[in-house]
Amino acid sequence: MNRRHFLFASAAATAGLALPFGRDGWITRAAESDASHKRLVVIFLRGAVDGLSVVVPYGDDSYYGARRSIALKPPGRDGGVLDLDGHFGLHPALAPLMTPWRGGSLAFVQACGSPDPTRSHFDAQLYMENGTPGRGATADGWLNRLLAALPGPRGPTQALSFGPQMPRILSGPQIVANIALGQAAEKPLAVDRPGVSEAFAQLYGGDDKMSRAFQQGMAARQQMAADMSAQNSAMMSDDREQMAANNGAPLPQGFPDDAARLARMMRQDPSIRVAFLALGGWDTHIGQGNAEGQLANRLKPLGEGLSKLVTGLGPSFQDTLIVVMSEFGRTVHENGNGGTDHGHGTVMWLLGGDVIGGKVHGAWPGLAEDRLYQQRDLAVTSDFRAILGPAVSRHLHLPEGTASALFPGAPNVTGGGAPVLIRA
């Protein structure tokens, strides 16, 4: 066993903090309900991914005319897309995802997005995270509201966010742990030392927001230290070396390692119900590339990471729903610099054991000039809330009516008219 991990685990275990949560208690109760095995992972592509280059409408008559240098070739050609259904094809950099696609556990919703017209990354992300398009004032995120609705007991690692800032989507009163990206996640901190953590437990023993953050942070560290020390002994040594080699790599290049880490943690710790990870680098205004180039270089580690997440989850994949989303899409026509500017509709990805996969869902509005949103963008035919509300509710066995609490004010959020994506 790695000594560092041992120190971390034992320090946290002996810290003697009076913490309100216990792992064992959770596991005992978890077994009581089948629904409590169900998990949700959301991966947010910040910067607006070009959905037309992910699920490529190579069969649309207008596609090649709109994209002089960045279009992807039809299936069967050198650098061509991987055929999905005779009309759409997958970006070749995402080849590892053809396995779940063929296995029927990967679905896409094309022309998905927000009803709000903004082309501001920051406003659009905010709306997709707080779940109320057009309303910035909503204080909490829909994943945090989801935690409130989840049946079953609460644990310090019920929700995991990767990265040093708490994203809006998880902000709110429910407990969320956050964990560093890369290998820093596994390093012990000075605050884990018994004397130190006791002193701070005295200082932050109250019920104010800082005390709560401290208590939740320490409880989550204790839980994760236990998880990691357990998994560490089981972990393949080449895995460890690879993780070390990629330490500090920029996203999404580091995603495969973080995805593998997430999978191990989820497998080890059944109390993790929700996880969130954001990847940047999709704002391809110049030199987007096609089968190769900037976008391909970002998609490749994303595909690899998702693939690692699927295999790493093992049998728990059957109980997991993985959603990949982005704030909006990009212009149908490429711009003057071999890139694309801010657009509207994009593609949402759903991956999981109960996903009705092997299918590109959603009404295809087409790329003919008169079909475009404001004469320039892919129209939105599926409101992201009408996809996620029913899919998440069904997958997590949420009580009736929860979807409208996740996305207050959304029309059709109970699923009327929207494609059904999750097997009953």
Partner: protein, 504 residues
Amino acid sequence: MMLRTCVLVASVTFFGLRVSAQEVTTPLMLPPAAMTMNGARHALDRLTFGPRPGEIQVVHDIGVNRWIALQLSPQSIPEPAALTQALAALPDTQRSDADLYKQEVMLRRDKSDDGQAERKEFTKNITQQVMTAHFDRALLTDRQLQEVLTNFWFNHFNVFLNKGFDHVWVGNYENEAIRPYVLGNFRTLLEATARHPAMLFYLDNWQNSAPGSRGAKGKEDGLNENYAREVMELHTMGTLGGADGGYTQKDVTELARILTGWGLRTRPERGSFRGDVRKPDFTFAFDASRHDYGDKQFLGFTIKGQGWQEVEQALSILATHPATAKHLSYQLAQYFVADQPPQALVDRMAETWVKTRGDLSAVMRTLLESPEFWAPEAASNKYKTPFEYVVSSLRATGVTPSDPQPLFGQLRQLGQPIYGIETPDGYKQVEAAWLNPDAMARRLSFATALGSGRLGKDQVSIDQAGLRSTLGQTLAPQTEKALAAGDPRLKTTLLLGSPDFMYR
């Protein structure tokens, strides 16, 4: 690498006393609450990177109103020798953007192993130097308000160190496009950023070209609206006015047309240049051959097609637009007063903005003379960002690290690497972004290391009484209680990790 000694600051020389004879500005009209010890602490908390030992008393004795007036006139404040020496040891930070670019390109051309190794070394070196300069200024300058504002406006006009060439330009950008203008007119600041290669490259406008124009070729044959959108959405008008913030997609496209050809001199033979025509590659240049000479309709104005003058007109419209006045007054008030700033204050600042056509010094005066700034509920209500937390802890303990590199790693772990945010909206300045479980554990670990006298490779000693003096007269009851009950060896750690120290 520069050599510095780890010092315990036993005595601090205060500029305020040295320059009192040559005061150049009128003292501010402040409410009586401002002129107290609590007022001095509040002023230091908000207008500096944190008080140093004994400094609250000194500012109180100078008079908070006079001290702020001096801070609003940074040129009147001499810089301490410690800073000038530290900066002198960072020669690459004084070089011009063109000079740095030329070296980078030269190194890129050499594909040999040695050449690539040299380029790697250059990248590492310049990155360390600009980060160190940025850090040292925050830590050591006596022109603290100017530096706080430099951080604020840099973040507002953010560029990212790791995009393309920007690592060679980012320091120059801060020194030449931001710092000189933070208390000047906003229009000047806006144009300085609009013309700097760091920004032109970061938001892609250097390639923005009129489709089919004479100079448009290959990858530069068409509009790129990235900068046009962000300059409206982030730099000026904002989206407070609703989904489209008082402007439409049409305005974005029209501004992109106006900005065609506003870019970088990528080839010596190209175009006509505004600015110094003798300057070599990749300095600011206007390329007429890629400009769209048609008329434009922008925010209700007709802008006649005539070249770079259109950009000047558009920047003037944006800089003085009422939406800009409101958006940026809000942001300043959010940074200096409260995460949810009082609307009445924002309105008065915006009024000053409109009346003075964006005089940032006047807007700051409105802010600093407001009852809202000095209200009891505004005291210690701003949760420090990681950068503010780390720098203020060093100032409060009187520690100057011999090598700040380990601190840059700390800042990365805390979520705020220097020049390290990829997106143009910059770092968030509100508590909701920074107060979370992992951040608490990491901050407290930093407090533990520093509190026990360890800072990277340095062993430092900390003046506990001095540190205590930076926290003002009273501590939160929970802090007093924990200090009384805790291990005496952890006192400094607890003070640095206390809620009192997490807020400014």
